[in-house]
Amino acid sequence: MADNEKIIEIEVLRYRPEQDKEPVPQIYKVPFTDDMSVLQGLQYIKDFLDESVSFRWSCRMAICGSCGMMIDGKPKLSCKTFLREYYPGGLRVEALMHLPIERDLIVDATDFITKLESIKPYIIPKEERKLEQGEYLQTPQQRDMYEQFSSCINCMLCYAACPQYGLNPKFTGPGILALMHRYNADSRDGGQAERLGLGYADEGFWGCTAVGYCSEVCPKGVDPANAINQNKMNSAINYFTRFITPGGADK
């Protein structure tokens, strides 16, 4: 036994569809040191206490977006959250909120992935471009218009934060709308019209009620609340002027 070994209680919300009718909490006593993340705590559980505990992880350095979960009721990346913060009281971990639990700490991300594909997350050039024309040129200010929104790591913490998504899964949601804005705001892109059909719908920007918790929990500072809400003004202006601007009316 190491000197001054500290033990912390991690309560994991278990769910094994083949045996559990509904999720059930299970407490594990985990020895830890101050440099250990919650992810490392879970890995200790899996390696030494209970091999059946299931959770996603990969890079363990807050860039892959795999390890999102609810830690004491707040959406966080487990690799970026430290056990020492919850000592001696202990902590509860649960699968990301507002998404169906597949097993233990693993959520069903199908809805997120489907929606991700639906917003055309790639540069749609304004016009045909030949190789001889060379690279696009962009001023620092032009890049500032979209750069923070390109930092998204698809971790879905914002979906766990967003009550509107929880209340209505048809809502496209913060992360994906932020990504839509990332492309719409890029000076190299000409695909706004194709994307805004979704953006200007109830399931698009208008599903947001500016709770703002998504931006609070984002580990990369994307600020999806801003990406979405700055589009409401454009959407409203477009709504009222569409019949008097060329090509503005819906087909």
Partner: protein
């Protein structure tokens, strides 16, 4: 045959789960008081159109203790509305640059709150001047 059985959790009482959500609900609930105040003014305008006796009745009603308590509460709520309105306003603005520097959210909130102070003082002076 799949062994999958995804579990969907209830959204009941979601807003009680985090202080952030409670603050959001408090912000939204201010609308109830905005509506109540507008209804009081609406009564005033209707009574005004019904003549002096009717309007004086409304003025008398404003002097009752309950209406004073009501308006004190409404005043506090309106102040919270102003505060929360300009706090969320930066999120509704596009990214802006002044003199090559990016405009910070705090600047937008501060400007809005300052505008509110100036506007309220202006109203107070205009009404004071008119009476």
């Amino acid at each position: 045959m799949s062994a999958r059985r995804p579990y969907v959790r209830s959204m009941d009482g979601w807003w009680k789960r985090d202080p952030y959500f409670i603050r959001y609900m408090a912000r939204e609930v201010t609308a109830v008081f905005v509506a109540l105040y507008a209804v009081v003014l609406l009564f005033g305008v209707v009574r005004l159109s019904q003549g002096e006796a009717a309007f004086n009745g409304w003025l008398q009603y404003l002097k009752t203790p309950w209406m004073l308590v009501f308006h004190l509460i409404v005043l506090a709520v309106f102040c919270y509305h102003t505060w929360s309105w300009f706090n969320i306003m930066p999120k509704t603005m596009p990214i802006m640059f002044v003199g090559g520097k990016r405009v910070q959210p705090g600047t937008i909130t501060g400007t809005g709150l300052a505008a509110s102070v100036i506007a309220c003082l202006a109203v107070l002076f205009i009404v004071g001047g008119m009476s």
